[in-house]
């Protein structure tokens, strides 16, 4: 019991910091029209490359400055968060569903099911992921759903490999054998006995995957293969910022910080959640 208490305390600040940032970013994204100080698409060449608020020459209402077309950077980041979060949730859940299901089957049943699934994973992993994503989007056409599908198609293997290994370890435990003796059918054992014990890992991976999905979406935006160019995306803003790095560094730096904080928070949040979900650590 004492050990559990200590583990819980250690988990605290990580969970709150990471969760706090994600909640803030998520709420800002959901209520973007209310929260954003400016129209993210409004261009005003009189206001181009305004610096952030603490530097001389800053305009009130343009907290993080403007880009080379005079658009408000903060508003663009907030609206860009919408796409980032939609992609993060949808792609991560899709990848999780496919990968975890196949991983659970491969790990629990073993034998030929495992051989087939593992070979597919091996082949899949041989593709360089980002190039694979770019290729997929190029084939599917740009757009939100293509980006989500591309990320899910690439990253299900991540879930599959980890959950397979976990399920395999759990399947060797005596409680699974005991359930066999009691007369449970195999699928029942997989779902009722094995699955609950791999859920903590699934949760951690899911959160990690959301961070990865944000990065991949940013990369796709960066190479202009994501959503239509009108909607602001973090990757798109970074790509624009790169062009004006010498005149307006903030256009590159702020979206990068936002991206890094979000991805880091997702992974930390996942780790903390895993500790929470794990009955032995709870």
């Amino acid at each position: 019991m004492d050990e559990a208490r200590i583990a819980r305390r250690g988990v605290g600040p990580r969970l709150w910091l990471a969760g706090g940032w994600l909640l803030l970013a998520l709420l800002a994204a959901i209520f973007a029209p209310l929260v954003a100080p400016q129209d993210p698409l409004a261009q005003d060449l009189m206001l181009e490359r305004l610096p952030p608020f603490w530097m001389s020459g800053a305009e009130p209402g343009y907290w993080l400055g403007t880009d080379s077309l005079g658009r408000d950077l903060l508003s663009r980041l907030i609206f860009g968060g919408r796409i980032a979060f939609i992609v993060a949730f949808a792609a991560a859940f899709a990848a999780c569903l496919v990968g975890s299901t196949l991983g659970l089957i491969a790990g629990y049943f073993g034998g030929w099911a495992d051989r087939i699934i593992s070979r597919i994973v091996d082949i899949w992993m041989a593709f360089p992921p980002v190039l694979f994503a770019i290729l997929l989007v190029a084939v599917l056409g740009t757009g939100l759903s293509s980006v989500i599908i591309a990320i899910a198609v690439i990253d299900w293997t991540r879930f599959c490999r980890v959950i397979r290994a976990e399920a395999m370890g759990q399947s060797r435990m005596d409680y699974v054998e005991n359930a066999r003796i009691a007369g449970y059918d195999r699928i029942g054992i997989m779902l009722r006995e094995v699955l609950p014990n791999v859920v903590p890992s699934i949760v951690a991976l899911l959160s990690l995957e959301m961070g990865i999905a944000v990065i991949v979406e940013a990369i796709l935006s960066f190479v202009n293969l994501s959503i239509s160019t009108d909607d602001p995306t973090w990757g798109g803003i970074i790509a624009e910022g790169r062009l004006s790095i010498h005149q307006a560094w903030w256009v590159l730096v702020f979206p990068l910080i936002t991206l890094i904080l979000t991805v880091l928070s997702f992974s930390q949040f996942g780790e903390a959640l895993k500790a929470r979900f794990d009955p032995v650590l709870r």
Binding site: M173, E177, N178, I181, A182, V199, V280
Partner: protein
Amino acid sequence: MSADCLDIRNLSAVLANGQRVLRSVSLSVQPGEVRALVGESGAGKTMIGKAVLGVLPSSVRIVEGDMLLEGEDLGRLQPKARRTLIGARTALIPQDPLTALNPSRRIGPQMTDRLVRILGWSGQRADARIRQLLDEVQIRDPDRVLKSYPHELSGGMRQRVLIAAAFAAEPRLIVADEPTTALDVTVQKQILRLITQLQREHGTAILFVTHDLGVVAKISQKVSVLYAGKVVEEADTAALFAAPQHLYTRALMAATPRYTDPFASLKPVDEAVLAGLAAEIADADQAWRPRHG
């Protein structure tokens, strides 16, 4: 019914590489009787238990012999019927009480699940039954235990829970696979006493797998001595200890440490005896062909 509770006839099993792990094992357990299966590690005692319960690892293949559970030939049943039969009439008391309980589920549902899902009892009846069994294994605070996760209980408590679970469905046969090995000595004694007590009250037959001759003497009426997957001696427990017939049994007894002389150095089993046995088994393997399969 006059049938044996468990009757194993000429059971042989091999590994994938053809190595024999069980060598024409025959043994029977009468209703309500405790049969000890004793041998050193690797002798195949656990393998026999797993074979009976239908959970042999996939690397082990049974090549001859029959197993009859209350007169029903397990080998002739369809897999599903066999599972149902084994599930309804047998139970396992495992060696390691930690890994035998699902770490992410509370004790209560884990215990009642089997009665409800497999035997079709009502939740209420299952709950009452589990509480009765917890009382029989002298767990005084069933509410706390039923709500606990396995890691929140001590090893002794977990083993009590598993004993209660094993007896809950009134099986005809329980396989106890070294149920006290993972526990410390003081707890071992209590657990052995509990198993004996419940076994008498419920009239359950037990196949008791152990390497500990002291435990054999305390708990069993019959004993089979196993060496390298072969039954080398079979007798009433009292008769075995009074006058062991086989050389290996005698060597095993001579190697058992005594509390009366705790500072005597530990003796290994006599090597000449083992060499003789190994030669005998090698000869038998040369001549052996599975009768079917």
